[in-house]
């Protein structure tokens, strides 16, 4: 048992003081869950670099800050044009401001029968049992931040698809942070029935440059033969702290596609845990991180091949500029009975400046023999031959570097099938280049 630190006391006091404002306070199971979670949080404490999983990411700044719960503001207090500017055409959009769903800003397009798309807070009012199943599952082995999330959970996206339901249009969830020094804890729950299909875009953006803390948990259940795409576009404010945990439970012949595109925040950490729990389950994990100035962006992925014939493909790319610090930790575990598993993992990093840093740790843990598993990791810089080639064609040095950097990163945008999202990611990549590309493109 650790000594109860200042920050723990702070969180306990805050919780005692504010628990009556949290949604679902009349639900006994939820209150019990929240109480257990805050106890678990105190027992675990904040991770430190001495913990193997947090070796390269120091969350002390989050621990030191005294974030408060954001107050609920009326929808009229927001400029709707900002939301419109962030909207993606051809999607149903749910907007959450400071961790609360704002129906006035959201726009749901017609949904097929058998599809439920709502907010978690609304579900707690109408059909709490749907939320209960998903929330209780994650609790027992929760990490510090997931425990905090459970204790404080304010809202989130809720999607449930019945068997065979296919959402043609993606669902776009926009999380907007507007208030400095606040912490938001949101949870997305996605349950895809057998052979259903959907794509979900989770975007984080901010209207403030001051520090705030986003702690988001996404829980995805993919039943037999279903396919879920989950794209995260993390474009938080410059001083934001962003901690995210994505878990996906994939049943037989199910397919989970994940994209994590990380651009914002001063300290961001995304954990993605995929369990291939049925025969022939698949997952595709893509990721791009582009830290610059003093940003720190960390991705931790873990894929468990728990059943035979599973396939996993993972490609993560990083571009580190300024004093940016990128971290990639990818683990693939093949359990003893998961014969004929096929896993491939690649991590490529581009270091653009003297003060940039990257730490990469691709890991394989194989307990079965009839498997095909490989991983590769590279760290390097732009190819001098390619720069020379461009220069010999009359492109100046800075433009040549920008173009090659763009080419390296844009591959991740190109892999996105939904055009509007692809363009959005492409724009974010261009905005991060050391020099604009207009002249060439």
């Amino acid at each position: 048992m650790r000594l109860l630190g200042e920050s723990h006391k702070y969180h306990l006091d805050e919780y005692a003081q504010h628990k009556s404002q949290l949604p679902g306070r009349r639900l006994q199971w939820l209150t019990a869950l929240r109480e257990d979670a805050i106890k678990r949080f105190v027992a675990l404490g904040f991770p430190t670099p001495r913990d193997e999983g947090w070796k390269y990411t120091n969350v002390a700044p989050i621990e030191k800050k005294r974030f408060t719960l954001p107050t609920i503001r009326a929808a009229s207090a927001f400029d709707a044009s900002i939301v419109a500017g962030l909207a993606l055409p051809g999607t149903s959009m749910l907007v959450f401001v400071d961790g609360r769903h704002v129906p006035e800003l959201s726009s749901l397009r017609p949904l097929p029968v058998g599809a439920a798309v709502s907010s978690v807070a609304a579900m707690l009012e109408t059909q709490p049992e749907e939320v209960e199943a998903a929330m209780t599952r994650a609790t027992p082995r929760a990490s510090t931040f997931t425990a905090l999330n459970t204790a404080w959970m304010s809202d989130g996206l809720f999607v449930a698809l019945e068997a065979g339901v296919e959402l043609v249009e993606p669902i776009h969830v926009l999380y907007l942070a507007t208030t400095p020094d606040t912490a938001t804890h949101t949870r997305n729950i996605i349950v895809a029935g057998p052979n259903s299909r959907a794509a979900i875009i989770e975007q984080h953006a901010a209207l403030t440059d001051a520090a705030y803390f986003t702690n988001v948990v996404t829980d995805i259940t993919i039943k037999r033969g279903a396919r879920i795409e989950h794209h995260k576009v993390q474009d938080e404010g410059r001083a934001a702290f962003h901690i995210a945990a994505v878990t996906a439970d994939v049943a037989r012949d199910g397919h989970f596609v994940s994209g994590s595109h990380a651009f914002g925040g001063v300290l961001a950490r995304v954990g993605i845990n995929v369990a291939l729990n049925g025969e022939g389950a698949q997952c595709t994990l893509d990721g791009l991180y582009m830290p610059n100035s003093r940003q720190h962006i960390d991705h931790h992925t873990r894929i468990d091949h728990n059943q035979p014939r599973g396939t996993s493909r993972e490609l993560y790319k990083g571009v580190m500029a300024g004093a940016g610090h990128g971290v990639f930790n990818g683990k693939i575990v093949v359990q003893p009975n998961a014969q004929r598993s096929d896993a491939e993992q690649t991590n490529r990093n581009l270091l653009l400046s003297d003060n940039a840093e990257v730490d990469t740790r691709p890991q394989l843990e194989i307990w079965a023999d009839d498997v095909k598993c490989s991983h590769g990791a590279t760290v390097g810089q732009l190819d001098v031959d390619q720069i020379f080639y461009l220069r010999s064609r009359g492109v100046d040095d800075a433009s040549a570097r920008a173009l090659l950097t763009y080419g390296f990163a844009a591959e991740m945008a190109e892999r996105v099938s939904f055009a509007a999202l692809r363009d959005r990611i492409d724009a974010l990549i261009r905005a991060r280049l050391p020099q604009p590309l207009e002249k060439l493109a």
Binding site: L351, D354, V358, D359, R361, P362, I366, C373, V379
Partner: protein, 482 residues
């Protein structure tokens, strides 16, 4: 091919019996560890004051440390107070009296390796009274080395004869504060080898523990210190392909290599200690700290290891690339069969400019064996133009074994170029079928494929070692295929 080596093998045990064994037979300190035991060890060895101080400092630091638990190896807790830290080698009464009493499995292995009969007794720990005459040969070698100014002696002798060299370099690569086991070793190390190659000298022969007096039973806390002065070259061989009988379960050795400007050290290990029986009972815990430092510019250190023995192998031979243009290399084959566990790999710490490192690791898991590669490639801010290439391949034989890969890559310099590749696979049915259709037995076919898998590492071994290593691999894999 193997015979010259085996002949040389004969000297060792003999010399040691004469020089060390008999007089110390009564010197056994009771179990347990405290400052008095350390003072006693130091006194018995007739060490200068600085050595005792160093040991005591290490011991005091050790008391503040806790045993590390992060590795992937599992073993019951070790009772450090149950170990006798200064025991004379086991007396005749303890060992088997003749080969008839030795485990027939062990004998069969000797036969396969082609170990001469007389030597088998020595290796199996049989207390033989017959004396082979070997003194003369060993002396010849010593004279030849002395002529070139090369110092090659036991650690105990070096402490007495060259205290200034020992004091200068001891603990300069692996300080006693380094880790739990290295710290314990620093406090209680029994003996080991010391080697110094003077500037510009190329050591004319492969230095080996084979040649050394007092080579065997240096105990469980061995310490090796090798210094290659400016422009010197040495190739050092450690270990033995034949399985050695050993009473000590825990082995916590420390090896320090120092290569000054333009110097080169090549360190090869074949480790085949008792791995325990088929059910995982017994066997050695081999927890070793090995590290080399390229202290001068253009220095080069290469580690080659073939690890087939021990119940648990837990070590990371590392290179600190401090000098500009220095090179670090790590070539490893680690085989785990039955219930063996291995957590091994390397650390390449790039500090100097234009430093290069190569890592080639081949892990083979069979039976219930667990094999983990754990490595670190670190490029500091000062290491402009650093290069690293890492390849870790794992081969799985059987559905109860496991293979893990845990590489760490930390880069703080944009000029670095780092590549890491790893694969895990098993021997294909088609490969086996092809070999068998050409008349090879299933076992020979596996041995052949595994040897092919390890070829890149074996070619880094000195010739006679390489030949033995191949045979060894075949034997260690026996019974792992249907």
């Amino acid at each position: 091919m193997g015979s010259p080596t085996f002949n040389l093998d004969e000297f060792i045990g003999q010399k040691y019996r004469q020089g060390f064994f008999t007089p110390l037979e009564s010197d056994t300190v009771p179990h347990g560890l405290d400052e008095n035991v350390i003072r006693l060890i130091s006194e018995k060895k007739g060490e200068p004051a600085f050595m005792l101080d160093w040991r005591l400092q290490a011991y005091r630091h050790w008391l503040t440390m806790t045993e590390p638990k992060w590795s992937s190896v599992k073993y019951p807790p070790i009772d450090y107070q149950a170990i006798s830290y200064y025991s004379a080698p086991k007396s005749k009464k303890v060992g088997p009296r003749s080969l008839d009493e030795v485990d027939p499995e062990l004998l069969r292995t000797y036969e396969k390796l082609g170990v001469p009969l007389a030597e088998r007794e020595m290796l199996a720990g049989v207390a033989v009274d017959a004396v082979f005459d070997s003194v003369s040969v060993a002396t010849t070698f010593k004279a030849k080395l002395a002529e070139l100014g090369i110092i090659f002696s036991s650690f105990s002798d070096a402490v007495k004869e060259y205290p200034e060299l020992v004091q200068k370099y001891l603990g300069s690569v692996v300080p006693y504060t380094d880790n739990y086991f290295a710290c314990l070793n620093s406090a209680v190390f029994s003996d080991g080898s010391f080697c110094y190659i003077p500037p510009g000298v190329r050591c004319p022969m492969e230095l080996s523990t084979y040649f050394r007096i007092n080579a065997r039973n240096t105990g469980q806390f061995e310490r090796t210190l090798i210094i290659a002065d400016k422009g010197a070259y040495v190739s050092y061989l450690e270990g033995c392909t034949a399985p050695m009988r050993d009473e000590n379960q825990l082995h916590a050795a420390v090896v320090e290599l120092i290569a000054l400007e333009d110097a080169q050290i090549k360190y090869s290990t074949v480790q085949n200690w008792y791995p325990g029986d088929k059910n995982g009972k017994g066997g050695i815990y081999n927890f070793v700290t090995k590290r080399g430092e390229c202290r001068g510019d253009n220095a080069r250190i290469s580690w080659t290891q073939v690890e087939t023995g021990s119940a648990i192998t837990w070590k990371y031979p590392s290179v600190v690339l401090r000098g500009d243009n220095s090179i670090g290399e790590f070539y490893s084959v680690a085989l785990t069969n039955n219930h063996q566990q291995a957590d091994t790999g390397t650390k390449m710490i790039h500090l100097g400019k234009n430093t290069r490192s190569t890592i080639l690791s081949k892990g083979i898991s069979a039976g219930h064996g667990h094999n983990a590669y754990r490595g670190l490639v670190k490029v500091a801010k000062s290491a402009v133009n650093a290069r690293n290439y890492t390849q870790c391949d794992s081969l799985l034989l059987g559905d109860q074994c496991a293979a893990h890969t845990f590489p760490y890559i930390e880069v703080k310099n944009p000029g670095a170029q780092i590549e890491h590749e790893a694969t895990t696979s098993r021997i294909g049915e088609d490969q086996l079928f092809y070999c068998q259709s050409r008349g090879l037995s299933a076992e020979d076919a596996v041995a052949m494929i595994v040897n092919g898998f390890c070829k890149e590492v074996f070619k880094e071994l000195p010739m006679e070692f390489a030949v033995e290593a191949q045979k060894l691999l075949g034997i260690s894999l026996e019974g792992s295929v249907g």
